[in-house]
């Protein structure tokens, strides 16, 4: 081992776990044969004693108690600020949710009332229809009943049977699980369902709600106001 190498790894060979046994032995051998490095090691031992004295002096050093007090105070302040911020945010969200709920409930109620008003109006129209249009025509029966404008077909949810006129041969219980189709057709097509049609108005386009059974056959009809 050379002196430069000893200076790098030899002074602390006992503590350096990365050194091999062979390296440690070389350090021992070198220091026993080199006076300069032996003096260096002795000088380092002396310096190390002084370092130990410094380490001992500061070994029980602790941050003053005021640091802990300040930090605890800061934690309290920070947490109470955090709490009030979260309470404010929660309150704002609750208010917003309540407003949305109220709006939704009001809208649903308004829609229901509109729907009821419309339904009562159109049932009155269907009830008037047979008496006002006395004549019956079968002219459109051959065409398969009625003509439907595809763009105007709408699937309407709900199965209300109260405002509908049942088609001949249909029992009230048959329309329990039916679908409702809103269609535009010529009035003459009502004849295909066995309903009376006024010949003077036979070519008039009307809008009706048709209750259609599972097999696709119409079971009840309701005239809608134009």
């Amino acid at each position: 081992m050379k002196c430069e190498e000893f200076e790098t790894i030899g002074l602390d060979a006992g503590r350096d776990a990365s050194l091999s046994e062979a390296e440690r032995a070389a350090v021992e051998e070198h220091v026993s044969s080199c006076g300069r490095c032996a003096a260096l090691q002795s000088s380092w031992q002396e310096a190390r004693m002084e370092l130990r004295a410094l380490a001992e002096e500061t070994s029980s050093a602790q941050a003053p108690a005021r640091v802990e007090m300040r930090l605890r105070q800061e934690l309290r302040t920070q947490h109470s600020a955090w709490k009030s911020r979260h309470i404010a945010v929660a309150a704002a969200w609750t208010l917003a949710a309540a407003a949305v709920l109220i709006g939704a409930v009001s809208w649903v109620k308004w829609r229901d009332s509109q729907h009821l008003a419309k339904a009562s109006h159109s049932s009155a129209a269907v009830a008037d229809n047979p008496s006002s249009h006395g004549g019956v025509s079968n002219s459109n029966a051959a065409a398969g009943g009625f003509s439907v404008d595809e763009d105007s077909v709408t699937l309407v949810a709900g199965n209300e049977s109260g405002n509908y006129t049942l088609l001949p041969g249909v029992q009230p219980g048959d329309i329990e699980d039916s679908e409702i189709l809103r269609v535009r057709m010529q009035r003459s097509a009502l004849g295909a369902f066995g309903l009376p049609v006024n010949e003077d108005l036979a070519n008039e386009w009307i809008q009706v709600d048709l209750v259609v059974g599972d097999d696709g056959s119409p079971q009840a009809v309701r005239l809608l106001q134009e």
Partner: protein
């Protein structure tokens, strides 16, 4: 709720993050001394060390999510912050060496020697400690850090390398250069009183 001494750091930190003062105090008491010792040995200044320790825990308090338990111990994480602050402090005041550290009430050193020796031997020991402290504080920051960790904190080379985040070879090389400078400095400092005595 009482906290047991063995409660893990990450568990305590989670509780502290929810505002649990007791958990935070436990964490603080567990780590403050090591951080303070490191800071005071690196800066040689009790006020700076106090500020650094406070700053480290403030950082932890303000953003506890910065600590990731999967990446290492909380002690290592806090040491990293402290090291950063120490280096910043040394950059700002590269040559600042306090003459005397005072207690809060202004009465002498903040560190009390547990010693029953005679005044003469106490004074000699005190002089020796002051000398070596001055020599350590004159080392460049990187060498000083290696000396503080390996010689004063008595860390192994491996632990020191992990704490600093560098290879063991770097620690060994910094120690080698730090020791050489330290010994030279101590020789000079030892010679000053000798020369003064001879002059008399």
């Amino acid at each position: 709720m009482r906290i047991v001494d063995q409660e893990r750091d990450d568990v305590l930190l989670r509780q502290a993050a929810k505002g649990d003062e007791e958990a935070f105090t436990f964490l603080y008491r567990r780590h403050q001394a090591a951080l303070y010792r490191f800071a005071v040995r690196m800066t040689g200044n009790a006020w700076a060390a106090e500020e650094i320790v406070q700053d480290v825990f403030m950082t932890l308090m303000r953003d506890p999510r910065k600590y990731d338990a999967t990446r290492g111990t909380l002690g290592g994480f806090l040491y990293g912050i402290a090291r950063n602050r120490v280096m910043k402090h040394l950059e700002r005041l590269p040559r600042e060496i306090p003459l005397e550290e005072k207690n809060e009430d202004g009465t002498g050193s903040g560190i009390v020697l547990q010693d029953t020796a005679t005044p003469a031997s106490w004074a000699e020991k005190r002089e020796r400690v002051d000398r070596v402290r001055a020599a350590v504080l004159e080392l460049p920051a990187e060498f000083r850090e290696a000396v503080v960790l390996c010689e004063l904190e008595e860390m192994s080379y491996e632990e020191a390398a992990q704490a600093v985040g560098c290879p063991i070879g770097t620690i060994r090389s910094r120690l080698h250069r730090g020791r050489a400078l330290l010994m030279a400095r101590l020789e000079i400092l030892r010679d000053v009183p000798r020369r003064a005595t001879m002059a008399k």
